[in-house]
Each structure stands twice: as C-alpha cells, then as structure tokens.
C-alpha cells in the first residue's frame, strides 16, 4: 500500500511535468515558433555533449541544496521562502572565510569555508524561526522580507569593506587551494556534486531514521500531538529553520568555492525560489528533491540553448516551473482528467 502510494505520487509528478511542458509547447506555438525545434534545443542543450551534460549537473547542484532546504522546512510545516537570502549570506560568508584564511591549506580551508556558509545561512534563517516560534509571525512573509534585507546587507558589506577595485561589485578572487576541484576539466563541475548528494543522504537518514527527524515531521503533521507527547515544538521549529537555512547556505558556499570563485552581487538567478518548485515537485522527500533538481537543471541549462538557438526566451522555463507547482499542489486535477478519459478505469482507489 505504501509502495502504491509512492508510485501514485511519482506518476502524478510525471504527469505534472508533462502537462506543464505541453502547455509550454502551446505557448511557443502561439508565439509563432516551432515547439518541436524549441524542445529539440532544450534537450540538446541539456545532453548534447559532455560539456552540456556537465552544465546540466552544474545547474542541478544549487537546486539540490535550495530544494532540500525548502523540503526540510515543509516536513516540519514551515514554508521557508527565504532560501534565496540564506544563499546570499552563505555565499558571502564562504567567500569571506576563504579570503581571510587564505594561508590555510585547502583540506582545512574548504571545509572551513563551507561551514562558514552553512552557519551564516543557518543564522539568517533562525531569526524568522524564532519570530514564528515566539510571536507567531508567519514565516512566509518574514522569510521573504529577510530575502530583501539579506541581499541588501551583503551588498552593503561588500561595497563598504570587501569590494575589489573596478566597475563590478565583487570581492577579489579566492585562493587556488580554496576552490573545489573540477570533475570535468574546464566545466566548473566540481566536487560540489558529491557534497550535494552526500547532504541528500544525510538528510534522508536524519528524517526517516532518527528521533530528531521523527520530531521534526511530527511537528509538521500535528503540532498539538507533538506538544502532547512531550516535544518542545518551539525548539523544533527553530532547529528546523537552522537546518534549512544551513542547507541553503551551502548552496551559496558551493557556488562561491566551485563556480564563481568570489562573491558577486546579484549572482543568483533565483535558485532559492526555484528551490520551492523543486521541493514541491519532489514531494519534500530527499530523493524526490534529487530528481526534481535534476529535472530543473535540465530546464535551466536546456532553456539557455533554447534561447540561443531557437530564439525562445528562457523565461518560458519559469512559466513551466509555475505550472508544475500548481499541478503538483492539486493532484486532484489528474483525478478529474482520469475520470473523464477513463484511461485508468478499474483502478478504484
């Protein structure tokens, strides 16, 4: 039964993606282009060469982190829309650590910078968590406000204290030994991929096999039962935000150590927000997030080649993401279709 339920959720997710892509195709058609050609370049951009595949993985990595950050929050009933801000804080702290301690050897410096990023993301997420636990201020609004505040804060710190000479608002480059080693030469696809998968595994075990994860989910499912059974739900809420923010912070620090090699203002194309779509599509489960992030990685890297070669604005992929969220949020839409079409009749659950 549990297996059937999982299978059904996977089927709904696949149906949501296909429906969203079909609607996207319709929009391409309506705007006077060939949907077939567009999706060919989408596919080509994502898988056409070793370089393209590496690019797809590259786009996947930050989405694994931000998607997982949002998913962990969801598991505890918290809607962390602040992954974007936490990512900026994480990136900034990682760059800072790498620059300040640049005379340390790599095997110490890299973990140190990663940890600094995670810690900064954690602390930035903790404030909305504390406000939610102590005053009831809804985290949806406070985390959004903290995105604006966090991005402005990093810009301020950068401009006033750490800016490299020149027209661009950015820090100087971090030391060679602070950079994550590349997996495929000249692609910037680095060990960050393994860090992401490692974090997925850790979170999977944490959620499903430890008392800590049990309490986290318990608070999300029924906060009254949690209190009744002796769980301090305020503490769980704050801890969950710390964990969620820490994962989002890693998205930023791996971007800095693996891809950018410095902190640049406004570097994120909205990874934190795409993370919401990733979490929703992945049903807030670690393995689901992994696949959903990969799918969105395909859309991101394929979207670019689509824009380049088929002249379709890549923002179409944002539309597809929005549609995916809507469809996944409302699985009954496919039940309606199912009853109308009769394709799946005989399945009477």
């Amino acid at each position: 039964m549990a297996f059937n339920k999982n299978l059904k959720e996977i089927l709904y997710s696949v149906a949501a993606i296909i429906s969203a892509l079909l609607l996207g195709a319709l929009l391409i058609k309506l705007s006077g282009h060939s949907a077939l050609k567009a999706y060919y370049y989408l596919f080509y951009g994502a898988f056409g060469s070793t370089y393209n595949i590496a690019q797809t993985f590259l786009k996947t990595i930050p989405l694994i982190f931000t998607g997982l950050a949002v998913a962990v929050g969801f598991q505890s009933g918290l809607f962390n829309i602040g992954a974007e801000g936490q990512l900026y804080l994480g990136a900034f702290a990682a760059a800072l650590a790498a620059i300040i301690f640049s005379n340390l050897p790599g095997f110490i410096l890299i973990p140190l910078a990663l940890a600094a990023g995670a810690l900064a993301g954690s602390l930035w997420a903790a404030v909305p968590g504390i406000l939610r636990a102590k005053t009831g201020a809804h985290e949806v609004i406070t985390t959004i406000m903290f995105n604006y505040i966090g991005i402005l804060l990093t810009t301020f710190l950068l401009k006033n204290y750490f800016k490299e000479e020149g027209p661009v608002d950015q820090t100087k480059k971090i030391a060679e030994q602070a950079r994550l080693p590349e997996l495929v030469a000249n692609t910037r696809l680095t060990w960050a991929l393994f860090i992401a998968i490692f974090v997925i595994i850790i979170i999977y075990y944490l959620l499903n096999h430890t008392a800590y994860g049990y309490d986290l989910q318990l608070v999300g499912e029924n906060i009254n039962a949690a209190e009744y059974s002796g769980v301090d739900s305020d503490k769980v809420i704050i801890n969950t935000m710390l964990l969620s923010g820490g994962i989002a912070g890693l998205a930023g620090s791996t971007m800095v150590l693996g891809v950018l090699h410095r902190f640049i203002t406004n570097f994120s194309p909205g990874y934190g927000f795409t993370g919401i779509a990733v979490a929703v599509l992945g049903r807030n489960k670690p393995l689901g997030v992994l696949f959903a992030a990969f799918l969105f990685g395909i859309l991101e890297s394929g979207g670019m080649s689509m824009q380049l070669f088929a002249k379709i604005p890549a923002d179409l992929m944002t539309i597809v993401q929005g549609l995916v969220i809507l469809f996944v949020a409302a699985p009954s839409i496919f039940k309606i279709l199912k009853n109308k079409s009769g394709i799946f009749r005989g399945d009477n659950s």
């Binding site: 929009l27 705007s31 809607f79 829309i81 406000l131 005053t135 009831g136 201020a137 809804h138 949806v140 609004i141 406070t142 959004i144 406000m145 903290f146 604006y148 505040i149 402005l152 804060l153 810009t155 301020f156 401009k159 006033n160 927000f273 919401i276 779509a277 929703v280 604005p313 923002d315 179409l316 992929m317 944002t318 539309i319 597809v320 993401q321 929005g322 549609l323 969220i325 809507l326 996944v328 949020a329 409302a330 009954s332 839409i333 309606i336």
Partner: protein, 311 residues
C-alpha cells in the same frame, strides 16, 4: 538642513499616497479572500500581472483607460484560476499562491520579450491623466494633497470604504465572513459557499490587478520586469496588521507607504547612512509589525482549510 522637517512634510505624505495605492488595493483584496477562508499569497503575482496587462492594454489601444480594463480582466482571470485550484481542486493555498506568483513572473517576463523584444522594461505607454477635483483643492492643509491625483487614487478611497461597508454591513459580507469562520455552518444555512469563495478570491485578484495597473499607468507609464517588487507580500502583512478589515488594512498600508516615502526622501538627501540600510526600512518594518501584531490578532477560524459540501 532639517531632516525631520523634510521627512514629515506634506510632500512625503503626498508621495506616500502615491506609493500606497497598489499595497492598499491588494490588502483590501486580501481581506476579501482571507475573510472567505482562502490565504492569498498570490497577491504579488496578481499585482504584477495587473501592471503588465495595463501596460499591454494601453500599448495596443493607445488609451490608458483600456489598459485599466485589461488589467481588471487579467486580475479576474488570475483570480478565477487561483479559485479553481484552491477551492475546486483543494490545492494547498500557500503552495498554489507561490505557483501563481512564479507563473506570473514567468508569463510577464516572457511576454515582454515576445511583444516588445526586450527584457528590462516596456516602451512608454499612454498613462492615466491626473484629475483635479476643485472642491477638495479648497480644503486647508489637505487641499494640495488631494486635489490633483490619478483617478485610481480616488477610486482607491472609494473602494476601501465601500469594501468595509460590503464586508460588515451587507448580507453578502456576512456570508463571506461566515464562510471564512465556519464553512460547514454556512453550508447548513443554505449559503452557497463555493460561490462566496469564488467571488471573494476573484475580487481579490481584480483589486490587486487594479493596484498593479496604477504602477504601470498611474505612476511611471511603462512596465518593467518584476515591477511589483514584494508589494503583494507587504499587502498580506498589512491585511493581517489591519485585522482583516479594509479600513485597518488601508491604515497599515499607509504605514508601509510612508516608510517607503521616507526611505526615498532620505536617499535623496545624501545623509551619512548607507543607502542599503535606508532601503531596508520598509522590509524591516514589515517584519517588526508582523511580529508585534500577530500575537493579538485572530484570523478567520477556517483560514487555509478546505470544505466541500455534498460529499
């Protein structure tokens, strides 16, 4: 230079009234939606879509009036879509609302490039003229403030007051509030809760979009990417702070708008404060207000839940 004098001047207040329009209209929309039991995070996307549709309508027709009509229609469509997902398909309100916001962002940015071939901003379009109301001009003090404004500003005042009347004095308003408190009870009284919710949520879309059209037609006369810039979320906070009451929501929106106006004035004054901190003001204020307000507030009892009659 007298900083405080500059901050608390009629000019700042006038700027605040211009800035309040989209927030207040969306907050009133939020009051309708949430009083009927539907959390509307999608206000942000509805403002954005309204701003875009207003610009497009004005661009093609050459008339700002048709632009506003197009914005209202777009708001209604988005409101109906959101209603369908949250009411009929029983989608989680918050997740679906985020979906609406991302969809709106994607649609407007994409269509901008399809229609105008550029990503940042649209070309200039015909904007709404300012209307002078002679009687108001004669008022002492407020005369300058109120005499000459965009028609949407006057419309906003009318809408705020009539929305309060509708919600708290009329049968429809009682039914909306009843539905948000206890949909099952409303159902047993023969109230058509599906209609009530559809009406309220669609109206919230229309109002937010009207607010959006003010951004592109009453203020700047063009559309730019992600023009709503978080106003929908501020409207949500204002609605909560205003206790789900259009009058309270307007007052809270004024507070945000005033802070924003102060922020803009301060930026122009070359003070010894980093501009980033000044820009943070409205956001920080939103957080502080929310943290202070929620403890005492009591949302509609059935907010965020699903109820279907006739199982």
């Amino acid at each position: 230079m007298n900083v405080l004098g500059t901050i608390f001047s009629i000019n700042t207040l006038a700027a605040a009234i211009r800035l309040v329009v989209p927030i207040a209209l969306a907050a009133v929309g939020g009051a309708f939606s949430e009083r009927s039991g539907v959390i509307n995070i999608g206000l942000e996307g509805m403002i954005l879509t309204g701003a875009f549709a207003g610009a497009v309508g004005s661009y093609y027709s050459g008339s700002a009036f048709f632009g506003v009509l197009a914005a209202l229609a777009a708001g209604a469509i988005l409101g109906l879509l959101f209603s369908f997902f949250t009411i009929d398909l029983e989608a989680d309100h918050v997740v679906a609302g985020v979906g609406i916001n991302i969809l709106s962002l994607g649609f407007t940015t994409w269509l901008m490039q399809v229609i105008w071939g550029q990503k940042g901003a649209s070309p200039q379009v015909a904007g709404l003229p300012e209307i002078k109301i002679p009687i108001l001009a004669d008022l002492p003090l407020l005369g300058d403030l109120l005499a000459s404004n965009s028609p949407i500003v006057y419309l906003m005042f009318i809408i705020v007051i009539s929305s309060w009347y509708l919600l708290f004095k009329t049968p429809l308003g009682l039914r909306i509030r009843f539905t948000g408190e206890h949909p099952e009870a409303a159902d047993t009284l023969g109230i058509n809760i599906r209609f009530i919710k559809y009406f309220s949520v669609t109206l919230s879309g229309v109002l937010a979009a009207l607010g959006g059209s003010y951004l592109s037609l009453g203020h700047l006369n063009w559309f730019s990417s992600n023009m709503s810039a978080g106003r929908g979320y501020m409207a949500l906070a204002a609605n909560i702070f205003g206790q789900w009451n259009p009058l309270g929501g307007f007052a809270a929106s004024m507070l945000f708008a005033f802070t924003d106006a102060v922020q803009m004035r301060l930026q122009g004054m070359n003070l010894n404060i980093a501009s980033e901190f000044i820009q943070m003001l409205p956001y920080v204020l939103t957080v502080l207000i929310l943290a202070g307000a929620v403890i005492r507030s009591r949302p509609p009892a059935a907010l965020g839940s699903h109820y279907k009659s006739n199982k």
